[in-house]
Symmetry: C2
Subunit: 225 residues, 2 copies
């Protein structure tokens, strides 16, 4: 769906971010879920480089993006927003209790079992590359990430998606694995590399990524605070 200034759903994102963060900011996950669900959305773009307006903390208590609103609810946390969109979208969350719970388990696994370790590595690589502590710490973090990836690859085996069919769990897992793009860690596991490519080839992902990148391409002056 094209971004539509008149849509009922609003996604808050950043007007501009440094190159390493382009295609990585977490509103991508929400845009992707909305594309899978076929829902149009309007965007509100914040200036990432300025302090967040105090009123924004009422929408996003930690000042992060994305924030989200529709006719029913105002929300924060990309994981919760994707689950909320999934409540009415079988492409994201199966309707049966077991299928829905399993998809949710993978979404949470992406956010709580995979992402903390991956983020630890990304923080070292993008923000502390030359620090002494980072040089000393990185090998062990790398090993922990490798262990998680090996377990994920073992689970996946020859399945197309984590539960056979695509769900919100795959959406979140793929979004989290993308934070390793500056490394060879995913490529070291051909099963995972093929899985990530499969997720990223989905038309809904491609439209979501294009929409995020397009929003950055506009002048930072277009940002509203």
């Amino acid at each position: 769906m094209p971004v539509d200034p008149k849509a009922a759903i609003e996604v808050t994102a950043f007007a501009w971010v440094p190159d390493f963060a382009k295609g990585q900011v977490r509103d991508l996950r929400v845009r992707w879920a909305l594309e899978e669900a076929g829902l149009a959305y309007r965007q509100r773009l914040l200036d990432a480089m300025s302090p967040r307006p105090e009123a924004y903390f009422q929408e996003q208590p930690f000042g992060q993006v994305p924030a989200y609103r529709d006719d029913t609810v105002q929300l924060f946390e990309s994981g919760a927003i994707v689950l909320h969109i999934g409540e009415d979208c079988e492409a994201l969350l199966p309707r049966d209790i077991a299928g829905k719970a399993r998809a949710t388990a993978w979404l949470i696994a992406a956010l709580n079992s995979m992402e903390p370790r991956i983020l630890e590595l990304a923080i070292i690589d993008f923000f502390h590359r030359d620090a002494e502590w980072a040089r000393l710490r990185r090998p062990e973090v790398l090993e922990k990430v490798r262990e998680k990836l090996a377990r994920l690859a073992a689970w996946l085996g020859d399945k197309e998606y984590l539960e056979g069919r695509f769900t919100a769990g795959d959406l979140m897992m793929a979004a989290v694995l993308r934070a390793l793009r500056h490394t060879d860690l995913v490529a070291e596991q051909p099963t995972l590399a093929a899985y990530l490519a499969r997720c990223e080839a989905r038309p809904a992902f491609q439209r979501a990524l294009a929409a995020q990148l397009e929003s950055f391409a506009k002048s930072p002056a277009a940002a509203v605070a």
Copy 2:
């Protein structure tokens, strides 16, 4: 509810852990949710000190605890298990769409916005206290945790719970904040200290904690692999 060997719900936990982890292992979150819901469960206790049996990775792809099963589904990830229990328990998840989504947002915020930083600090303090990298890194991690706690306290204000009434979001937030018990960080924010005490005073939490600690009190020889 007492732990009941004949219950339909099974929770997998550890038979024994070192003292610093007692009352912290993540099956506590699931026990607490089951107590709030008034559901009996049986427990299967794994030997934490031995390698996980290979078959267990089919239940928990990363070899962690808890794992969970009921008549409908086999699950992993404490966050997903709590949400699944909440689907049939208004004490955990309000029935209205907006209330349910807001409670879910706080549960995810606990797992993805708060816990990664808190865990980074706990990993330093419990596993790397004497490492050079930890000495260099700790002050900044501490500052990041303090920032998150201050934002959480600001949101909470004079509310009893994050959304006014208790939800699964408070359950998860309290469980995550408990990982700072070895520090004064929560006490530095009187609003948060009172909130955590309020959550921990709930009879369901007290019963869940007692059940976890009681399982550790048994001989390690009682563990089944």
